[in-house]
Amino acid sequence: MDTQVTKKKLGLKERYKLLTRDLGWETTFHTKDEVYPYVKYEGIKINDWDKWEDPFRLTMDAYWKYQAEKERKFYAIIDAHAQNNGHLNLTDARYLTAIKMFLQAISPGEYAASKGFARMGREFGGVGTQVACQMQALDEIRHAQTQIHAISNYNKYYNGFHAFSDSRDRIWYTSVPRSFFDDAMSAGPFEFMIAIGFSFEYVLTNLLFVPFMSGAAFNGDMATVTFGFSAQSDEARHMTLGLECIKFMLEQDPGNLPIVQRWIDKWFWRGMRILSLVGAMMDYMLPKRVMSWKEAFDIYGVENGGALFNDLARYGIKPPKGWDVAAGAIEHMSHQLFLGLYQWSFGTAFHGWIPSDDDMEWLSAKYPTTFDKYYRPRWEHIKKLEAEGTPFKNYGLAKLCQTCQLPTVFTEPGDPTMMCHRETEYKGEKYHFCSDGCQEIFEHEPEKYLQAWLPMPALFSELNGDIGAWMDWVGLKNGVDNGDYVGSQDQINFDKWRGMATSNKQS
């Protein structure tokens, strides 16, 4: 008989415990309150940090192993894309508008998320939380880097990509996600987790990334599919962290419920406002479309969000306060925002255009109750002006919402023919808002939001209203990066290079 005793292989749960146990030592030089100075002031009560467990129980060695594999896959495809003129496989260079917006507005958000999670990995008291936040901080910086790296291939050939880091800080539409992340990072650790971990990761990223990646695949953009999937493979872990965080807070103390509910209400609304950019991308910017913004919202918003909030009902959580208003605006928001982007295209580091007849057919099929009634007539009018040589361009400056920083282009709940506008007077100053949701967020913390950096006031305070100087300052080349797609360098070059790639034409 074999008497040798084989050492029992450790299970996932034991391995995870061994990995993390020594990180949670009792401090002796300083009190816990001194070591973790920010965990109490938001009013969240935690009785037992050990109750927070990472359901994936990913240990650091496994983390490095799988992340390294993801990187190898990523670079293999990015190299092939660059070596084989991958940019000429796009359906149309118009598609790159979505990628420009992504680089200017979303990739810097990845970097901001990395900074935020690095801070939370330090500030939270529990070991499970610290490890999960630190892993996410590493993931997020990887996302920012791989996105910038993948998209840099397009910067060799097309306009609008070169100044994304300046755009991020200075241009008007990028200040929408910028202010979202600044708001979260300047909050306490628990609010940050609700803002980014829960609202953004769990409730909203499906709507941001899944259609983006499917759309990229559909439009021949291998580079974006690759960085998208590489980043998205971390996302299941991030979503789970967000969901575990919210359950943890709710289970720890019944007094946490109203605080958490307020954050859910706030961050759902802020997230929906960011998603208006995604709606415009899905419904207007993709030459070939996977599904409409509304269809995506039905799957990931209504069905999945509904399931989530049903599940959380056992803790007393209600669906976010702005849910019904948001749902009522789904069939309007992408049209309203793209009309805004078209008319202000002098100030965007990407191109605008009038939807083609085919595109309008598609839009009316996808939005049977709204497109033909409210939006097609406007596009037909804009088309007529364009044909007459007097294109509809707005050289005025948009009025921005003090909270979400989007121009106030949206309509009243229940009345798509009336612009929605709210204002609040605070300490003798007037503040403007796009919606009740944004106004309520301001009124709850006015001292925070009156400090918001807004691009339009900055144009005057920093540059005396000089639009040319503003363009230099944001890195936007007039007549090259902005304006109409039709007749742009991007269009001319793409058509020429595509012709050279598929025939023996010399130029």
């Binding site: 299970g11 996932l12 749960k13 359901p55 994936f56 129980r57 990913l58 496994a62 799988y66 594999e69 993801k70 896959k73 990223t205 499906n206 990334f209 899944v210 990646m213 499917s214 759309g215 695949a217 559909f218 599919v225 999937f229 998205q232 493979s233 971390d234 996302e235 299941a236 872990r237 979503m239 789970t240 969901l243 996977v290 069905e303 999945n304 509904g306 399931a307 989530l308 049903n310 599940d311 009902a313 056992r314």
Partner: protein, 89 residues
């Protein structure tokens, strides 16, 4: 009953994983979209390591799935042998 779901990249390595999910969850519905596969199931979905190993013919660590995951929905519970997604409603 709300659906849980999992979405995986459409590639050679996820083919047996998807097959295993379908075998172990008779109520699962598979939706194939550009470059990805989304699998919905009412209330609960279990992914068994053993079923995948039977299909790939080698040892399979469930955490390998992290490389191909796109998104999921539901409360997660992972052990060495299975990954379970559930909604409590």
């Amino acid at each position: 009953m709300s659906n849980v779901f999992i979405a995986l990249q459409a590639n050679e390595e996820t083919r047996p994983i998807i097959e295993a999910i379908v075998m172990d969850n008779p109520q699962a519905v598979v939706k194939r979209e550009p470059a990805m596969v989304k699998i919905d199931a009412p209330g609960r979905m279990v992914i068994h390591k053993e079923t995948i190993e039977g299909l790939v013919g080698r040892a399979f660590d469930l955490q390998e799935m992290h490389i191909h995951l796109i998104t999921l929905s539901g409360n997660v519970d992972e052990t060495d042998n299975s990954l379970t997604l559930t909604w409590n409603n």
